[in-house]
Symmetry: C2
Subunit: 263 residues, 2 copies
């Protein structure tokens, strides 16, 4: 069944909640922003929030719940973040210990949930402006790399910046920087253009996460701060418990992509 058309975010969340939709969310609810989920116990919430403040390009925060709340009240009124994502991941002491279709049985009243911006938003903007995105054309996952750039540490959280890479034809570089600059809440402008070795990437054909893509003759690799960073950093400290969405299975918000553009 194809749910891509005409359904509102609240309707798609409702299908997910009822277990009637459990696919990846890429392409669903065109025009609406999707977000990364990170759930942590309250005793780590201050350090993590400070980490996001100090690393806004890797960790653009769309919303933070009150402790124990399961609703993103601003980004998705009447949502239930324990039910409205098709697939969740549970990490215990830094190890992935399971995937879940809902996290009701795992819920604790000391949980704080973070909704972080996702590059789907700026990719939509790029495509609308006629810029091709290789991994979308390929139907594969974006290639991601651990860099030699360190995040600004905050409390117990520290680690390297993870980037995503998209090959861009030279003549479109300026336009790509301009367009993505307008979306600081979904990673914003690139953090590097060109030579991968300058940011500690030794083999562009071997991404640390996701799938490799071809870089053609006239193209330059362009790197953006990636939403995998906060998860990697959080996992790095092996928290007793952390829950996230499963890759590609995002939280669909009521926020229109254009609302995340700053000009």
């Amino acid at each position: 069944m194809n749910y891509n058309h005409n359904l509102k975010p609240s309707e798609v969340r409702n299908l997910i909640r009822k277990g009637q939709l459990n696919q990846q969310t890429s392409g669903l609810c065109g025009g609406y922003a999707q977000g990364n989920l990170v759930v942590l116990p309250q005793n780590l919430a201050y350090d993590f929030l400070l980490f996001t403040q100090r690393n806004p390009k890797t960790c653009p925060v769309l919303e933070v719940t009150n402790m124990g709340s399961t609703e993103f009240v601003k980004s998705a009124p009447n949502s239930n973040l324990t039910l409205d994502i098709p697939k969740y991941r549970l990490y215990e002491n830094g190890e992935l210990t399971g995937e879940y279709e809902d996290i009701q049985s795992l819920w604790r009243m000391d949980f704080v949930s973070f909704l972080l911006g996702c590059s789907f938003t700026f990719e939509s903007a790029l495509i609308e402006e006629g810029i091709n995105i290789r991994h979308i054309e390929n139907g594969s996952n974006v290639p991601m790399y651990i860099t030699s750039i360190e995040c600004e540490p905050a409390g117990v959280f520290s680690g390297p910046v993870v980037v995503s890479m998209r090959p861009i034809p030279s003549h479109q570089l300026v336009e790509v920087v301009k367009i993505t600059s307008r979306y600081p809440n979904v990673h914003g402008a690139p953090i590097h253009i060109g030579d991968p070795s300058m940011i500690g990437i030794n083999n562009i054909n071997k991404p640390d996460f996701g799938d490799s893509v071809e870089i053609k003759e006239n193209e330059v690799p362009v790197f953006w701060a990636c939403g995998v960073t906060p998860q990697a950093v959080a996992m790095n400290i092996k928290p007793e418990i952390m829950i996230t969405h499963a890759p590609g299975h995002m939280f669909i918000t009521d926020i229109k992509n254009h609302q995340l553009s700053i000009v």
Copy 2:
């Protein structure tokens, strides 16, 4: 003595530190951003940081120190925030109990310090574009008003949005919105243009803080979220202790104003 010219921020901070400069900081270190200071005990820091995340227009955070640290390491390397502001205010249980030229004797290792963006930055940008700012022409303080708009609450923090007002000629309104939109870290675009009563201001000639300014025949009042908001909100909950800069006596950073522009 006129220190306005050619001194770097670090040099001016050093003069302040030595007690050789104790005036208001408006006009000092042209081209560099100045910031508001809020110092709170760690037990309030999470709620306050969450408040700033939920209210980015009133509370644009430039930097948050590690607990106990007296240095804004990113915004002003080698600074000492207990010495480098000409005048501080101490609030105890919500009451102003004193003004200090330094706060070394008050310092506690559980303090967390927040540096918040200040409208001086966007005023510089407006002036450079040929837009006159009435209260600067007058040599008076900007008029500020408590509005009927509520901040998004976070933990123990809640309260009304405080706005600053600048009269702008009708033909410059578009330009003013465009220019200030580029500076989201120093309050950004206006939150209201025109009729003051729509945001709960009943007498535009009686500001709640600062000085009244004339609105001329061809001018429209334009309202921006104001950095007094976080202080007012923090004071509202009568914290055991809170330290801020004294009005007009700001923390001078090494950040160039143009670095705070997003395009």
